[in-house]
């Protein structure tokens, strides 16, 4: 009876969803609403107006910069919420069903590969962050790669060796780096143009690019620090 009810509810939910999908314009249709609104302008004038060859970056940091600032706030708030739950709750006693009490010895293959690839991964993440206005990528992507590398290194080298990358005094600044970069650039934009997060006129592309770069580096550092913090806090006994 209960199962039949669940199945009926699922079908009832699926029908409107499928109707919605069926009424969407076909993939790549040039007359679809999303292609006739503002995207034509983004594609045609994005590079001159926003100062970024990568249209995605132009939209994220310039046309919709305020949205991205809000997004960054959401991520920072998520970190605060995760830490509020994790800090002050001691690790529960493990019930040993299947999970060994002592950590399994680390595979030498994993250890070697992580050590070998680490410098190249750092280089790649820096490239992704700094080159985000030309090629696909940017602060979020590079920061995620950097955070992943930090976690891999912590597993391989131990917390003592990687903790120096996230010192206790500097950590709060790094976790908030994305938000701080946005506020700094926003205020600079106010001083230059009179609008919060405003970018200077098209003739001053260098200034615009530098402002975007500050935001990208801030998002990259902040993202990596947030991932690293959550991992370290979860690992802590």
């Amino acid at each position: 009876m209960k199962k039949a009810l669940v199945a009926a509810l699922l079908v009832l939910t699926a029908i409107p969803l499928l109707i919605g999908v069926a009424s969407m314009p076909p993939h790549g249709d040039p007359d679809a609403p999303m292609h006739t609104h503002v995207s034509a302008r983004y594609i045609e004038q994005g590079e001159e107006e926003a100062g970024a060859a990568n249209i995605v970056t132009a939209v994220i940091l310039n046309y919709r910069g305020l949205d991205t600032a809000g997004e960054v706030t959401v991520i920072f708030t998520a970190l605060a919420a995760a830490l509020a739950v994790l800090i002050g709750f001691p690790a529960p006693p493990k019930d040993n069903d299947g999970v060994p009490a002592a950590p399994a010895p680390l595979s030498p293959v994993v250890s070697f590969v992580v050590r070998l690839l680490a410098p190249f991964i750092v280089l790649f993440s820096v490239y992704v962050i700094l080159n985000g206005h030309v090629t696909p990528g940017g602060g979020f992507q590079g920061g995620a790669i950097l955070g992943g590398l930090f976690i891999a290194l912590t597993i391989v080298l131990g917390e003592g060796r990687t903790r120096v990358l996230l010192p206790r005094r500097g950590a709060p600044w790094m976790q908030g780096a994305a938000l701080l970069a946005f506020v700094a650039v926003g205020i600079l934009g106010t001083a230059l143009t009179g609008y919060f997060l405003g970018y200077p006129a098209e003739s001053q592309h260098l200034v615009t690019e530098l402002m975007m770069l500050v935001i990208e580096v801030g998002i990259g550092l902040g993202g990596a620090a947030i991932f690293a913090t959550i991992f370290l806090q979860m690992e802590e006994e």
């Binding site: 493990k94 999970v99 992704v128 992507q141 995620a144 991992f231």
Partner: protein
């Protein structure tokens, strides 16, 4: 060719999603979910969104899986 590849990936996506939902061993579920993210990453790349693919690979397949594994290590491996 391209559509066939897409359909293959989508079928694998559905299979892994069902497997995650059905797995009673949470360690297995976390690892299958990691492969789900990997297929999703290929799909993003194939649909022309390389930046999303990059995030999916780093966050979905990498960091999320590690966080799941840490959680399983601190709690229990079996679904109750």
């Amino acid at each position: 060719m391209s559509t066939a590849f897409d359909i293959m990936l989508l079928l694998f996506l559905i299979a892994t999603a069902l497997a995650v939902a059905r797995a009673k061993d949470l360690l297995a579920a976390a690892l299958i979910f990691s492969s789900y993210s990997l297929v999703m990453c290929l799909l993003w790349q194939h649909r022309g969104a390389p930046d999303v693919a990059m995030t999916e690979a780093a966050v979905g397949a990498g960091i999320t899986t590690v966080l799941f594994l840490v959680t399983i290590g601190r709690t229990t491996r079996r679904e109750k």
